[in-house]
Amino acid sequence: MTTNSLTTSQGAGRTGDKVFSGAALTAGCLILAVLFGVALFLVVQAIPAFVAPAADIQGGQGFAAYIWPIVLGTLIAALIALVIATPVAIGVALFISHYAPRRLASGLGYVIDLLAAIPSVVYGAWGAAFLAKEIAPGYDWLANNLGWLPIFQGPASATGKTILTAGVVLSVMVLPIITSLSREIFLQTPKLHEEAALALGATRWEMIKMAVLPFGRPGIISAVMLGLGRALGETMAVALVLSSGVLTASLIQSGNQTIAAEIALNFPEASGLKVNTLIAAGLVLFVITLAVNMVARWIITKHKEFSGAN
């Protein structure tokens, strides 16, 4: 993009350039190698589960029958988490970057960053011991008043340990990730764009809509993808919060299961073919992430023009 005839002719520093670009390239390739290693490991370990006779797989009806309910469960939990977390996280990021007083803002950013570090076991324990109990009466209310919707069909769980609670816990966990990245992006919005918008008489919201959000959109999508990665792969919190079971349409009954939690709950005691089955489940999760990311990439490339470097 920026080859300058003034610099190319000079000899000094050329080695530096070569070494540096070489190192960057090697790092990139190393990542590909690691990922290839992980994929290879997954595939090799998963093959026995794919070729095994249907009766030997957990549930006795083959791998497909075993995996699809928990694939759906994983997607449901992640979807709930993102639906709750994304608007809230963008709101919080905007609050910190454009609404809160500057002094308060840096402190708040700091607190939010910290929250990403609370181990998932703690979120799980909090969700199981505190949130589930507090939220259970709300589920009763939903079952009584909105029970005609399939997703709120009663009777509501007595313990409150449902997929919706798990989704809420996941949303709390991904919130700091999305917030933290979006905030950094929003802060980098060119000041000139913002001031130009304000000078034209735009209100603060119009300024955000015209200058900040379009600039930050690819970054927001990246942040949401990172959050989605965490929500899809989160094991311990879901394992502790969710009272798992067969695929259930109602979000306020016990039931459903996610792939990562299924692996975490069953791996320690597994032996023989069951280990292969669980690793195959891991491979499926991997493929889901791959598919989701393809979609996200496609969205991001549509909004490329705002990136500073290209």
Binding site: G13, A27, L35, D113, T203, T235, N310
Partner: protein, 369 residues
């Protein structure tokens, strides 16, 4: 000449069509009263009161603004209410989590010896004694703290150079080549590796290369790196991308080499964001339980060698103390230690965060925005 009515009575033309400055307070008071009244009809609780009042406040302020100021200003007010509302909604669970950790963790952390000793020799018998006779809860997190610091440090030493260099390749050298696009794509895929799979992969890799049963802190660090690298790449890439092209072009125009431009101009400009991203990446992996359990083993005594022997870590310590209490019949002391360890972990991340900010400040260019 007769004087007209005093000018002060007239509202200034500049503030015409604006809500008076006391408007939000009036609306808030009305909303609170109305909210209490509505809640009184269906059964009062503080949480519901807050929610109903907030909704009423938003509706009231927006409607008033719409009448006096027009639709554009009303929309602005609505957006402000929603943004602040989002912030308050986010605070609720976060404060609740932090409160739970503080309330449960402080009794553990103030027990003398908690930070300075390991769990070596602590058995259920001692815990039973602590509960039945009210003696001090013995055992501490020192071994786990040392393990977590060393494992995470090693993982960071592996991940940050690899991750940052990859991000540099993608932004500065990639030029949208197929390889760059492949790397970007697969980095995204890597964020979705379930943490247990990363652990199993690292364990299988070391079993094959070094020998069966190789479980050390270093294996865990490799497993964590697999989880950490994509986060570092992803966040650094975003930060490098938004460094204005003008800065690069200015440097090139002065005849500065590309690699020196990157080192001296691009990275320092983005360092605050990169540091924040690295902290986030550390935060992401420092609380991982499953991959450490299958790679670093489970130690109850101190091990200072990250390359040899089993190693404890704070998350595995918390996990086992909560799910497999040292004394099954009296889980109290174990719970206390677990929450204490969680608090220690959070404080540790806080310190790391401070360090990252310090580094960012030292390296960042002096001219601020």
């Amino acid at each position: 000449m007769t004087l007209t009515a005093p000018v002060t009575r007239k509202r200034s033309a500049l503030t015409k069509g604006q809500l008076p400055s006391y408007a939000p307070y009036v609306v808030l008071a009305v909303a609170l009263v109305l909210g209490a009244a509505i809640l009184a009809l269906i059964g009062f609780n503080v949480f519901g009161w807050g929610v109903v009042s907030a909704i009423l406040f938003t509706m009231g302020l927006v409607a008033w603004s719409g009448v006096v100021e027009g639709a554009r200003k009303a929309k602005d007010k609505l957006a402000t209410c929603l943004v602040v509302g989002a912030f308050l909604v986010a605070l609720l669970p976060l404060v609740s989590v932090i409160w739970t950790v503080l309330v449960n963790g402080i009794p553990g952390i103030i027990t003398p010896g908690f930070l300075g000793t390991s769990m070596n020799g602590v058995t259920g018998t001692l815990d039973n004694k602590a509960v039945e006779q009210g003696t001090k809860v013995l055992g501490g997190v020192y071994h786990a703290l040392v393990g977590t610091v060393q494992i995470t440090l090693l993982a960071t030493v592996i991940s940050v150079p690899v991750g940052l260099l990859t991000a540099i390749y993608l932004v500065e050298y990639g030029n949208d080549r197929p390889l760059a696009r492949a790397i970007t794509f697969f980095v995204d895929v890597m964020t979705g590796i379930p943490s247990i799979v990363a652990g199993l992969f690292a364990a299988a890799f070391f079993f094959a290369v070094v020998g069966p049963g190789t479980k050390t802190g270093a294996v865990a660090a490799v497993a964590l790196s697999v989880l950490m690298i994509p986060v570092v790449v992803r966040s650094s890439e975003e930060m490098l991308k938004i460094v204005p092209n003008e800065l690069r072009e200015a440097a090139y125009a002065l005849g500065v080499r590309k690699w020196r431009t990157i080192l001296k101009v691009v990275i320092p400009t983005a360092i605050s964001g990169i540091a924040s991203g690295v902290t986030l990446a550390i935060a992401r992996v420092i609380g991982e339980t499953a991959p450490i359990l299958v790679t670093a083993g489970f130690a109850t005594s101190i091990n200072n060698n990250v390359f040899g022997g089993w190693m404890a870590s704070l998350p595995t310590f918390i996990y086992t103390q909560i799910l497999n209490p040292t004394s099954p019949s009296n889980p109290g002391p174990s719970d206390q230690r677990a929450w204490g360890a969680a608090l220690v972990l959070i404080i540790l991340v806080m310190l790391l965060n401070l360090a990252a900010r310090l580094i960012a400040r030292i390296f960042a260019p002096k001219a601020g925005r």
